[in-house]
Amino acid sequence: MATANCWRCLGRPSTHRLLAPSSLTSFKAPTSVAAFTTSATLLAKDDNSFSMKGHVRTGKRLVLGKKKKGRGDRSKPPGPGERKAFRKRIQLSNDNALKVSGLPELEAQKLVDPAAVGQIVSLPTDLVDQLRTVEAFKPTQNWGLFRSPHMLVRKDTVDFLGDLTKRVGNKETVRTVIGGERGVGKSMLGLQTMAAGFMNKMVVINIPEAQDLVEARTDYSPIPRTTPEQFSHPSYILKLMQAIRSANEEILSKEIVKLEHIHLPVSVSRNSSLASLANATKEPEFAWPIFNALWQELLQPGRPPIMFTLDGLSHIMRISDYRSPSFNLIHSHDLALIRLFVEALGGKTHFPNGAAIVGVTTKGNSLKVKSMDKALEQAAADQAGLPIPERDAFYAKYDERVFEALKGVKVFDVKSISKPEARSLMEYWAASGVLRMRVDEKTVSERWTLAGNGVLGELERASLYVSRL
């Protein structure tokens, strides 16, 4: 059976390997022992002080119950951030898993070919690097159980991406929200969309977790001379820009800067590439102007089409946890990066080269945003040609900006997988050594039913979680 941890490396996964050495020294505690430890070494130190000794008859005191002091865990507690790093790590290969040979490699055609439905395809290494750079892989997905990343081409993939690539090829703008039940594969479809974007030479921009932008986790600063006042996330945008540059280097290095950027704090020459524009600064304070310049360059005619995806749509459809200088809460749509996405999704931005703007909803980590639900309901009804449902007349808190942001979007509902698809997936699991049972019609239909009529995440849960460490 495959374990998620590498057996050869006995050390605990820690931030020491992730963080730069300079940052490591900065928050190093003065003592090597954590402040609130109950370990025996600390207790032993107090032996000399009379006041801490307790009662005179300490030795004869009757101690009842199982819990006795001083018997705590003597091992060192994990350092700051170590637990989170362990939780959020993304492991894309596992040497202990069996190698599955004979599966085809993913090509752009495979994602739109109806004949490929139900196939398991391997992701080419370059694509894996690109997807990893834009953080398309999620910690909740079980990539670490397998030797190398593979994925299932399902009917929804072909339906969605076939339509998307065709329309983007005609220089149209595709504005879609991916919806569906919990664990049905929405983020995975987002990943497949990005894969299609990379393979069709689109500039892929991805915001992997929308909640990072609104929950006041990252630094923000007001953008001067904006009405209404807008705010940017300097470090986040810098990181995002570097991700865009390294993931799309092949395309961006071929494109030459066309506009004059005289207002920029760094000098950008006319003949430099967009890749060098994206790489122009390492300063967080210049991140937003340069990102904006890059965005303007990409909107020029003759550029490659843009794919802008965001996961966790409901998080950006509310008032954020950030505060303005006057201590009012900032609406998410006043955060510049989110505003960029929302305007693109709402159809306010004109894309002359075609674009795919995809918002992925989540069900696991999501808020109840009534405005968004109603807007998506109306969009779905509009799409199906049904009468558009009215807003609830007794709900006063509808957010007009949310309706504005989702005006005219298409809603794509991800469905559960069929039994043949489930079968090919289970056969792949069995070949990888993580599913130790016979895969026949009986077991497939059993798991399919137990997984709520083919909900992919539940299928994994019912089959793989017994072997997950």
């Binding site: 039940e181 009986k442 239909s445 039913t449 137990l450 997984a451 709520g452």
Partner: protein, 322 residues
């Protein structure tokens, strides 16, 4: 036992046979017996006497239906007292009803020993009274050993070929049969409706589940939700469809169910019962496998009620010294 039998037979042999309109239990009048009771007033309407040797032993009772108008009638021999002889010869034993029935069975067994019998498994199942049930019904403490011997004979008699079964055997075995032969109970046939659905109800703890099963491809909807949404635990999902899984019918039927009450475990197991019952309507032959899978029998356990003086059902308050 045999000695007892002999004694009963003797009792029967000396039993008088002279009963006419007056009733079989009364012996015919004799002058000698009358002479024994001169002091008694002549107020009896009928002249009844018992035989001389027994007159000393039997109790003397005064008949109650005395009419004063008849006192002066000279033609009627009026007997003040009659010795009552009990109906049953085993009246003076401690269990007359059982003994009589036993004797009848013994006689019948001897009488019809040569009638052809059929094998035990071909006999229509009969609900015999158990020893305890018989005791309760008759109100006598029949001995276990005697009852077992009697039942052995009775079962042998019951094996007589049904075409040749004499009526008196039927009558003789009747006291040992339960009033209702539950083996002959016919379960109510549940119909499959016009859309091909069958309906089953299951209960567990305080949950009630109703399931409609129809031929299909294995889709399950519980309260309008797929199984994964209805039950968070995989274990509960498995127990809900356990019967179908074990009988390999999971991919052959669709289930539409409604569950209410109780918690998730109770709901899942109530659903298992409901689905199994509905499945039996489609395929009655599955009942035994389903019973072995534990999906037919209702688990009767419920939350035990709280008692006064207790903290919970059984828990007692902590002992306090003062």
């Amino acid at each position: 036992m045999s000695s007892m039998r002999t004694s009963f037979r003797c009792l029967r042999d000396i039993r008088p046979t002279g009963g006419k309109a007056a009733g079989a239990q009364w012996h015919p009048t004799s002058e000698a017996s009358l002479a024994y009771r001169p002091k008694q007033p002549f107020n009896a309407t009928r002249s009844i006497a018992t035989s001389a040797p027994r007159s000393a032993e039997t109790t003397e009772i005064i008949p109650s239906d005395v009419e004063p108008a008849d006192q002066g009638r000279a033609s009627v021999v009026q007997v003040p007292y009659a010795r009552a002889v009990p109906v049953s010869p085993s009246y003076f034993s401690r269990k007359p009803i059982f003994n009589d029935a036993f004797v009848v069975v013994q006689d019948l067994a001897r009488k019809y020993a040569r009638l052809p019998i059929i094998p035990k498994d071909k006999v229509t199942p009969t609900a015999w009274r158990t020893k305890e049930q018989y005791r309760l019904a008759v109100g006598e403490h029949a001995k276990g050993r005697d009852y077992a011997t009697c039942m052995k004979l009775a079962k042998r008699l019951n094996q007589i070929h049904p075409d040749l079964m004499p009526d008196e055997v039927k009558a003789g075995l009747l006291p040992f049969k339960r009033e209702v032969n539950y083996y002959l109970n016919q379960p109510k046939v549940q119909p499959i409706d016009q859309y091909g659905r069958s309906h089953g109800v299951g209960k567990r703890k305080s949950s009630v589940a109703r399931a409609w099963v129809v031929e299909g491809a294995g889709e399950v909807l519980v309260n309008g939700k797929p199984l994964s949404e209805a039950f968070g635990r995989v274990h509960d999902r498995e127990s809900a469809v356990w019967g179908m899984k074990l009988t390999e019918r999971l991919d052959k039927y669709n289930v539409w169910a409604m569950v209410s009450g109780g918690g998730t475990t109770g709901q899942a197991e109530a659903l298992a019962l409901a689905i199994a019952k509905a499945l039996c309507v489609h395929e009655p032959a599955l009942k035994n496998p389903l019973r072995r899978a534990g999906c037919i029998t209702r688990d009767p356990r419920k939350v035990e009620r709280k008692k006064h003086g207790h903290v919970k059902a059984r828990k007692m308050p902590t002992w306090v010294k003062r």
